[in-house]
């Protein structure tokens, strides 16, 4: 594993609440379970949350600002995941703000992580297009845009595409998150094809995540859905990780699954 093979991917969206942190936690977990050495970097300084998604919140001693300001070595601050030693988190600082780190320092940090032999460095970008965004994208060589099939989030994604291009992050990947196949079928919700058509052909569809209650329960437990078999969203995230690694994986047939669960619900009297 030479450092040249390290992929540095920023996960961004513009709009808040579309699932960046959940996506970061799940893709990171899935990649680590596939044998990749993964560093997750929470760039949302002041609003730390990636630690919660991973269940690592009680183990934080040092954070990204401590490393940048020289109070801790990078290795001291990296938190190894209990479940998978291939996965490590560099937490955001909670009591500082975006201005505590600048883009040059972020690039330096990414270089240090490269030297540590990680094969994937995944950066969880804060919402917005200000300094937090510039920090998170500074050291990245690839970008994943997370959007929901909903107008304001697609609009913000379009804005982000333009800003990424300005930073030479071209042809970003696209993840459509929180899709409701039933609503798409009844044409009450934008379809993935609609989102692609609107955003244009320079985005590459990387995955489609259905709205799934398992995301809520897994976040509550601090155990990403991708780590456990049996959920559609978890499967979708594992497929994304495989696609990132270069595998050809067909997109899940979400409509069929709805039909299947619908029939199951019908059989059992639609009780919850």
């Amino acid at each position: 594993m030479s450092e040249n093979n390290t992929r540095v991917i920023v996960i961004t969206s513009g709009k808040g609440g579309v699932g960046k942190t959940t996506t970061t936690a799940n893709i990171g977990t899935a990649l680590a379970n596939m044998g990749e050495k993964v560093a997750l970097l929470d760039a949302d300084i002041g609003l730390r949350n990636l630690d919660l998604a991973l269940g690592l919140e009680n183990r934080i001693v040092y954070d990204i600002v401590d490393v940048v300001e020289g109070r801790a070595k990078l290795r001291q601050a990296m938190i190894k995941d209990k479940r998978n030693q291939n996965l490590a988190l560099l937490p955001a600082a909670q009591t500082r703000d975006k201005s505590a780190v600048n883009p040059a320092q972020m690039r330096q940090l990414v270089e240090e992580l490269r030297a540590e032999g990680y094969t994937y460095i995944i950066i969880d970008c804060p919402a917005g297009i200000e300094q937090g965004f510039r920090n998170a994208t500074a050291g990245a060589t690839e970008a994943i845009i997370v959007t929901n099939p909903e107008m304001s989030s697609v609009r913000d994604a379009d804005r982000i595409i333009g800003l990424l291009e300005a930073q030479d992050l071209r042809n970003p990947y696209l993840i459509v998150n929180r899709l409701r196949p039933k609503m798409v079928k009844s044409q009450d919700m934008l379809a993935v094809e609609d989102v692609q058509e609107v955003l244009g052909s320079n985005v590459k569809l990387l995955g489609i995540i259905p709205e799934d209650e398992v995301i809520i329960t897994s976040t509550n437990k601090g155990e990403p859905a991708a780590a456990v078999e049996g959920s559609l969203a978890g499967q979708a995230y594992r497929n994304i990780a495989r696609r990132l690694r270069g595998e050809e994986v067909p997109f899940l047939d979400l409509e069929e699954k709805v039909g299947f669960f619908g029939r199951l619900k019908g059989l059992f009297g639609n009780k919850k």
Partner: protein, 87 residues
């Protein structure tokens, strides 16, 4: 608002379709990125040129960027009061 008849027989535009069309439009505005002052200047200059030939009702003037056939279009609706006889 679609009529009850349209809604019953499913002729109303589907919400997904509405959303897609609205999005396309708003993104063209966003992407065209014409700043408001420039838009205003353009409007004034259009008025100035037209005023050489016709008297226009400035209060009813409407200039906007719209999605036309195959692209973004500047659409102007300029009510003419009368031909400028002095010219």
């Amino acid at each position: 608002m679609p009529s009850l008849f349209d809604r019953i027989f499913g002729r109303a535009e589907k919400p997904a379709h509405t959303a897609k069309n609205r999005l396309k439009l708003v993104l063209m505005h966003d992407r065209a990125d014409i700043p408001a002052p420039m838009m205003d200047q353009m409007r004034k200059e259009i008025i100035a040129v037209l005023s050489k030939y016709v008297v226009i009702d400035e209060s009813q003037l409407d200039v906007s960027i719209e999605r036309g056939e195959g692209g973004v279009a500047l659409v102007a609706s300029i009510p003419i009061v009368r031909v400028n006889s002095e010219e």
